[in-house]
């Protein structure tokens, strides 16, 4: 009985974390899938969302800024606004850069943001991080607290998904993809390319902050190690590309699927015996080595997915035009 209850709790955690990543992939899809913006600074916005929410909702603590005791919803709204403001400032100067260059610029800016959060100890407690972050519904008895938090995350994903689907089919979404596929044509049609791109960048970054705000609550502790680019920026990119960019369903699928692989592989490696004898050679410390091997396997799975589904598991489909669906035209990105 305990065992099945345990599987249930683990399934809840998979859905909760998968849902938080889905918020991030949907935000990225808005930037990359819609507008063709290569944002590689996800970790920065994620961290801003988590820190701002934590500082605003926590009771006063001597180690860092705080004591505002705001309720959850307004605190998250402020966090998203702060991230949006930062994104707007970055976007103003960087938005005209194309693909890889924007990627490298945003990665640099995100690292500078993370350095600031790590070094301005008076505000963020520096490398020691913020502990005891309040989580929504944590006053409920076990397991209802976890279920309610999961429901909150999943409902948020659903709302964002529906909103983005609507946007995708709207004239706004069509302008966005038009700009992505041919900037010059869109400009010639009289569209303010820079302004549309900036909108996508700011909205997407605010969603990333929302993901961070939930994640900070979920782990109840947030520090500089929490927004390591490898487990935030890169993982989210992998999720989006594997799931299918420019397809909101693909973005959500990628998040849940990749998170399940990322997390689930560890259960298997954890079961390996301490020592394996291979061709007569004893290999010690197997569980420790298996932890590295797991990362290797994740890399390999990624390569296989890329080679089999280079457009993602659910590729882009255009909204119905004249009653029929057409597949996507020229790819963005590779501008000779």
């Amino acid at each position: 009985m305990d065992q099945f209850y345990g599987y249930g709790i683990y399934a809840i955690s998979l859905l909760t974390v998968g849902g938080m990543y889905a918020i991030l992939t949907l935000g990225l899809n808005l930037q990359w899938g819609f507008a063709g913006l290569f944002n590689a600074g996800i970790a920065g916005f994620f961290a801003v969302g988590a820190y701002v929410t934590a500082i605003l909702t926590k009771p006063e603590a001597p180690e860092h800024l705080g004591g505002y005791g705001l309720p959850m919803a307004p605190a998250i709204a402020v966090a998203m606004l702060v991230a949006a403001a930062i994104a707007w400032a970055i976007g103003r100067i960087c938005i005209r850069l194309r693909s890889d260059y924007l990627a490298i610029a945003t990665i640099g800016i995100a690292e500078i943001l993370r350095l600031i959060l790590k070094n301005e100890t008076w505000a963020t407690n520096g490398p020691r991080g913020i502990s005891s972050i309040p989580r929504a519904f944590e006053y409920l008895p076990d397991p209802w607290d976890k279920l309610a938090f999961m429901a909150l995350v999943l409902v948020t994903v659903l709302v964002i998904y529906l909103a983005l689907e609507k946007a995708w089919r709207s004239p706004w979404g069509r302008v966005m993809t038009a700009i992505r596929d041919s900037e010059d044509a869109a400009r010639a049609a009289g569209k303010d390319v820079e302004s549309f791109r900036l909108q996508a960048f700011v909205l997407g970054s605010a969603l990333m902050a929302l993901g961070g705000a939930y994640y900070g609550q979920y782990t109840k502790y947030f520090g500089p190690d929490s927004s390591d680019p490898a487990s935030v920026t890169f993982l989210v990119w992998v999720m989006l590309i594997a799931g299918g960019s420019a397809n909101n369903r693909g973005a959500v699928l990628g998040a849940f699927l990749l998170w399940t692989i990322w997390s689930g592989t560890q259960i298997v490696t954890g079961w390996l015996p301490r020592e394996i004898s291979l061709f007569g050679v004893a290999i010690p410390d197997v569980p420790v080595r298996a932890a590295y091997l797991r990362i290797f396997l994740i890399g390999l799975v990624l390569q296989v997915v890329l080679q089999r589904y280079s457009k993602g598991i659910l590729p882009e489909t255009r909204p119905a035009v004249l009653g029929r669906r057409i597949t996507r035209g020229p790819e963005p990105g590779r501008q000779g």
């Binding site: 599987y7 520096g126 989580r135 994640y215 560890q266 079961w271 590295y292």
Partner: protein, 397 residues
């Protein structure tokens, strides 16, 4: 896809088939920024589990103690995920680890405290863990930084060194330790001539060392992990002739330090580690048992042994793999009164528990008598490098 799922289900079924074993979670930063330190201390945990299993296992029917490794990667997100799996999927009785303080705070608050599972970390030293509202479920086999800062400050002042330059790596552990040390050192009348925070994992630290050297202090105090910046700082300080006298703490104690810098360079260096007193029987017993480990006295390796052995004793004492009884049992086996149990004495402890007698484990790292917050008192050892390139440990009084 379906085939993969079926294969997964098959693995799941075989792995959870009931065998006579007791699962103990072994959570640690196996990958990530301190992977090299964790790889060493995982050996300490494994050694303790081996001793338990070789001397009759757990309970009357000799069940095997199995360590289920979870990778907390020194990342709070990964720690929460790994702890969720250990607690719910693997249904471990208790958890030894995790290693980094941030990962410990996240795993404890998000997963293990609500689930009522005991965690015993051998290396998370942040004072913030003391203050945690932990329902008596979070324990540590390493003393809080606050004590180590005081111990090192007093030792340095006792050596007649009144002015030091201080540098620390910008991570939770070393920044905390540096803050506690600076407070204690200045309170006791010492002077910190320069304090320079450095980012770990840089190629060189000559600019930092130049600034520190400009302070013309008597010695350099380095709080860092040896691999990610500690060796580089000392190397740069020696190369530029800025300092030749060094002090530091447990993150620095590793044979690699001597391998890379040489014995000569370190003749005026001393580092504190949490309480391994080489005059005690417990320490000698541990050294004898641990002589096959790569580094028996590497950072937190003896603590890892003690933490794992203690949790095994607590499970034996509790009489069953019942999570809710572990905390109380842990306090009973770790603290007086009771017959003293030294590292490796599993068969003796098992017999005493079977007779209903009290036991009191004395570990390689000290008495491990938990206080109300689940912390152990600070006894500290001073580690110096001997002419043959080994670390010698001596208890700080």
């Amino acid at each position: 896809m379906r085939r993969i799922l079926l294969a997964g289900a098959a693995v799941l079924a075989t792995a959870t088939a009931g065998t006579a074993e007791v699962k103990l979670g072994s959570l640690g930063g196996v990958t990530g920024p301190i992977a090299e330190i964790v790889a060493l201390l995982m050996e300490g945990r494994e050694l303790a589990a081996r001793h338990v299993n070789e001397q009759g296992g757990l309970f009357a029917d000799g069940q095997q103690l199995t360590l289920v490794v979870g990778d907390s990667a020194c990342d709070p997100k990964a720690a929460v995920d790994a702890a969720t799996k250990l607690v719910n999927v693997d249904q471990v009785v208790a958890i030894v680890g995790p290693n980094c303080s941030g990962a410990t705070l996240a795993a404890a608050q998000s997963v293990t405290i609500p689930a009522g599972v005991v965690i015993l970390s051998e290396s998370a030293t942040s004072p913030a863990i003391t203050a945690l509202d932990d329902k008596d479920l979070v324990f540590r086999a390493a003393p809080s930084d606050a004590y180590q800062g005081i111990a090192l400050a007093n030792y340095i002042l006792g050596q007649g060194v009144k002015t030091v330059a201080l540098t620390n790596a910008n991570d939770d552990y070393n920044a905390g330790l540096a803050a506690e040390f600076a407070k204690a050192f200045e309170a006791a009348g010492g002077k910190i001539a320069a304090h320079q925070v450095h980012e770990p994992n840089k190629a060189n630290y000559r600019a930092e060392v130049a600034t520190l050297g400009g302070a013309k202090a008597d010695a350099l105090v380095v709080f860092a992990y040896y691999g990610s910046s500690g060796i580089a700082i000392i190397r740069n300080a020696l190369e530029t002739g800025a300092y030749s006298k060094f002090f530091g703490a447990d993150g620095m104690v590793n044979d690699e330090l001597v391998n890379q810098l040489g014995v000569d360079a370190l003749k005026d260096a001393a580092f504190t580690t949490p309480g391994a007193d080489d005059s005690t029987g417990a320490f000698k017993a541990y050294m004898e048992l641990a002589k096959d480990l790569k580094q028996p006295l590497g950072p937190y390796v003896p603590n890892a042994y003690d933490a794992t052995f203690l949790l095994a004793l607590a499970i034996e004492k509790a009489g069953s793999a019942d999570r809710s009884k572990i905390a109380a049992a842990l306090r009973e086996v770790a603290t007086p009164p009771g017959e003293v149990i030294l590292p490796g004495e599993w068969a003796k402890a098992k017999a005493l528990i079977a007779e209903g007698k009290d036991i009191n484990y004395e570990g390689a790292t000290g008495s491990l008598d938990f206080d109300a917050a689940g912390d152990v008192p600070g006894t500290y050892t001073l580690n110096t490098v001997t002419p043959d390139g080994k670390f010698a440990a001596k208890l700080l009084k």
